[in-house]
């Protein structure tokens, strides 16, 4: 039996097993990519560390951001963006198809941006790379759309698991943020990819807890106080989201080459970093200091650091640098937690609060949950990267409250906001997704009988007798162009008056002010127009020629079929 036939039979019969195997392979590949990025970043940071004390050091982030932007635009010719929204967009609209170049482009560009001091994290770029690796491996195996989406998820999960040494976070982040659906088909391969990614990281870098701590003695009062922290974390999340988007809009108005803009942003970050070094780079060692209680600055400095980190991140990402918001969120979150702890100590100096590291952890969870509006990701990520479950209860409280407040103020998360605004977030099984998968041309009813404008009413009534439809398109007999419609109701007054059968031509009674639909129109727009004008059906016209009707009845029929397809394969 030829190998291709064996492969096809295997694929048909062992869909899940195949996905698990490919998922594990993708997890390994994206895990390796994550380790590569991590190592490259460390090397670059170490190399540039010696130059940080010079007075001209502020231009280092500018050079890095400019090079990063040039690399993305001129060498790999990839459009700018943070990475994660592009993956969600691709999953949502094109079955997870991603370009091969995305598998490595963000690794290099983010390394240049972050390594030179830009305030961003390597997580979004590595998610993009892992997803692109998954997508292209799925393409090689000729997987269908549903399977490819799962494998893209495997890439994202393997990457996050590897970079944080956190398999559950990888799984939860992928399902909660990237795919937006929990199904049995997805979860097993993604879990395997997470394990593979984590294992690769452990083999190549050792089994390290990213931000280890010695444990905390938590009182009920500490848990209650975490409610207040959730409010501050939500406020910081909103501030960061708005600042990032605002900065992006400002930079869009500047008429300059994209690499110049990135350099301007980088320069601003460099200047901020000269006064508050915590604003530079990914800032993980500052988080470690805060969790251990070694961050000695006072409340004012901590609060200023929150603002400068928000500003630096906005300058880096809003002006064209490459990177993600995970790491800045963690830094800002821990600074918010620290500031909150200092404020509590100031207000109630005699109260025995738990260590400040505890609040730093909660702040991180609050920021991640708030900005991503993904509470489970926030909870599991912090549990895994800090290596302990003893803070799980306050983590749940902070994550839930922060994400709820953020959702109330900003209904879409940072990653989804642009997509939602453009109507491009199409989660499986939702109304928008079902409608986007249907085309006007699929709903065409072509059994309408076209009539001519000069036709006598008598002839028309003969046609009505033979037809089962209420609408009749009217065409010009010479050009065949669509000129109007006649509804059955219009001729009702004449039906019982045979004397005028030969006195009325259709041109006199047809409706010429008809709303038409082009065949390439978007179905949600068509539906909106039908609803606005209380229409039940509309004529579809292309090149002035009537080609059929589109009606709500056919739409409902097709909608049901499409919904069944989407939900049963899921």
């Amino acid at each position: 039996m030829p190998l291709t036939r064996i492969y096809r039979r295997f694929m048909n019969n062992n869909d899940r097993l195949l996905l698990m195997i490919i998922g594990a392979i993708v997890g390994v590949c994206s895990g390796i990519a994550a380790v590569l990025l991590n190592r490259s970043l460390s090397a670059m940071l170490e190399w540039l560390h010696h130059y940080r004390d010079y007075y001209w050091a502020f231009i280092i982030p500018a050079i890095g951001a400019a090079l990063s932007s040039l690399f993305l635009e001129k060498i790999v010719k990839e459009g700018a963006g943070h990475g994660v929204p592009e993956v969600i967009y691709s999953v949502s609209r094109y079955g997870g198809l991603l370009r091969m170049r995305s598998g490595f482009s963000r690794l290099v560009s983010s390394c240049l941006t972050i390594g030179s001091g830009g305030s961003a994290g390597p997580e979004a770029p590595i998610v993009m790379s892992g997803s692109a690796i998954g997508s292209n491996i799925a393409r090689m195996f000729n997987l269908n759309e549903r399977q490819r989406i799962t494998i893209v998820g495997c890439g994202a999960a393997g990457a996050i698991s590897s970079i944080f040494n956190a398999p559950i976070s990888g799984l939860v982040f992928t399902v909660e943020v990237i795919l937006g659906e929990w199904t049995a088909l997805n979860i097993v391969p993604i879990a395997l990819a997470s394990v593979a990614g984590t294992e690769i990281s452990r083999i190549l870098q050792g089994n390290q807890i990213v931000f280890g701590h010695g444990g905390f003695e938590i009182d009920p009062a500490d848990i209650a106080s975490s409610l207040g922290l959730a409010l501050f974390a939500a406020a910081a999340s909103i501030l960061l989201t708005r600042s990032l988007r605002g900065m992006h809009h400002v930079s869009e108005k500047v008429k300059a080459p994209i690499w110049i803009k990135a350099a301007i942003g980088g320069c601003a970050v460099g200047i901020i970093g000269m006064f508050t070094p915590v604003a530079l780079g990914e800032g993980y060692h500052y988080i470690q200091d805060m969790i251990r209680g070694d961050f000695s600055r006072g409340i004012i400095i901590a609060a200023v650091c929150v603002l400068t980190k928000v500003l630096a991140t906005s300058f880096t990402l809003g002006w064209g640098g490459s990177g993600g918001i995970f790491a800045p969120c963690l830094v800002i979150g821990s600074l918010v937690g620290l500031t909150y702890h200092r404020a509590l100590s100031l207000i109630w100096p005699s109260a025995a609060w738990v260590d400040e590291g505890y609040f730093a952890l909660l702040g991180m969870a609050g920021l991640i949950s708030g900005i991503l509006q993904a509470p489970l990701t926030g909870i599991f990520l912090i549990v895994e990267i800090t290596g302990g479950y003893n803070v799980i209860l306050p983590l749940i409280v902070v994550s839930a409250v922060s994400s709820s407040i953020c959702h109330y103020i900003e209904p879409a998360s940072f990653y989804l906001k642009d997509l939602k605004e453009k109507g491009q977030l199409l989660r499986p099984g939702t109304d928008a997704r079902v409608l986007s998968d249907l085309k006007v041309t699929e709903l065409l009813e072509t059994d309408c009988i076209a009539v001519h404008r000069n036709m006598l009413l008598r002839d028309f009534i003969d046609i009505v007798k033979r037809s089962r439809r209420n609408y009749f398109p009217v065409e010009d007999e010479n050009t065949g162009h669509f000129v109007g419609m006649i509804h059955l109701d219009v001729i009702r007054p004449f039906i019982f008056n045979p004397e005028i059968y030969d006195a009325v031509v259709l041109e006199q009674i047809m409706d010429t002010d008809v709303d038409i639909v082009p065949p390439d129109a978007d179905l949600p727009d068509v539906l909106q127009r039908m609803d606005a004008k209380r229409l039940f059906s509309m004529p579809v016209v292309a090149d002035d020629k009537f080609i059929g009707m589109v009606s709500k009845a056919t739409l409902l029929d097709q909608y049901r079929k499409e919904l069944i397809v989407q939900t049963t394969t899921a």
Binding site: E78, G79, Y94, L97, R99, K422, Q424, P519, D543
Partner: protein, 275 residues
């Protein structure tokens, strides 16, 4: 449902020739024309199992202030109504997604590299990717506008060639132009090749439309190509073989395109036949 040809307009003399060719193609086959005037040097085409990024060369963005006027003038002079495609979706802010639900697409030989590479013997990598992934045939135009008065289908008996033959029949039916078949048999005899026609239940169309069959059992393909009329639209199947066969024996389409200056309609492996 109306049949559409997708054309990416370049506001240069070369772009004018290509657009004229598209207009002629549309008029001959009764196809409507959808023109895209790029605002960015890159765009994405999402096919069923592939995403192709097209990196246009800078000449596609030249003189944007006159591009619409020039294109409109040419299209209206060709008796067609100008229809311009405005991308609705963007993967990134400078990366529009172009739909792929067309029936034909017109490409110059290269759309990513400098216009100096438009000579024979060169098809750009993006055009290849489009041909490999698209469900529609790709019209690769000659350097200067030239009307075609017949259709020549290159038919060697493969599955892809059978699709080319079906497309040839469709074009012959729509255009009422004579259809010729060109076969470089490489040792096979005429009956073997005709058996493929029978197998595809295409005998009646073959009898009806084919005006002549240039059948070469021997000789060099390069030499035999002289028999293809200079004013014929060449319909060729491409990339229908596996990687190994292509690597060992090369691609016939590559040889043909490097020698034949005619307008060519290239049928890729994913082409879905419309009757």
């Amino acid at each position: 449902m109306e049949t559409q040809l997708f054309h990416i307009f370049r506001n240069t003399p070369l772009g004018r020739e290509t657009l004229l060719q598209s207009i002629y193609f549309c008029n001959t086959l009764g196809v409507s024309l959808q023109v895209y005037i790029p605002k960015f040097t890159k765009f994405l085409m999402y096919f069923e199992n592939d995403v192709v990024q097209i990196d246009l060369d800078e000449s596609y963005l030249s003189f944007p202030e006159t591009a619409i006027a020039h294109a409109t003038e040419l299209i209206e002079a060709g008796g067609k109504k100008p229809k311009f495609l405005e991308p609705k979706a963007f993967t990134a802010s400078t990366l529009p997604d172009i739909p792929t639900n067309f029936d034909f697409m017109c490409c110059p030989r290269s759309i990513s590299d400098l216009s100096s590479k438009i000579g024979l013997g060169y098809i750009g990598p993006r055009v290849r990717r489009i041909v490999k992934s698209a469900v529609f045939p790709v019209l690769i135009t000659s350097g200067a506008f030239k009307q075609w008065k017949s259709i020549t289908v290159f038919f060697g008996g493969s599955a892809n060639a059978t699709n080319s033959l079906k497309l040839g029949f469709r074009i012959a039916r729509l255009s009422n132009l004579p259809l010729y078949v060109f076969t470089q048999a490489d040792g096979k005899n005429k009956d073997d090749i005709y058996a493929v026609v029978k197998e595809g239940c295409l005998e009646s169309d073959f009898e009806k439309y084919v005006g002549g069959w240039s059948f070469f059992q021997g000789g060099q393909l390069e030499e035999n190509l002289y028999d293809v009329p200079h004013d014929s639209l060449a319909v060729i199947g491409a990339f229908g073989h596996g990687l190994i066969k292509d690597f060992l024996f090369g691609s016939k389409m590559e040889i043909i395109q490097s020698i034949l200056p005619n307008n060519m309609l290239i049928v890729g492996p994913n082409y879905s036949v419309r009757r």
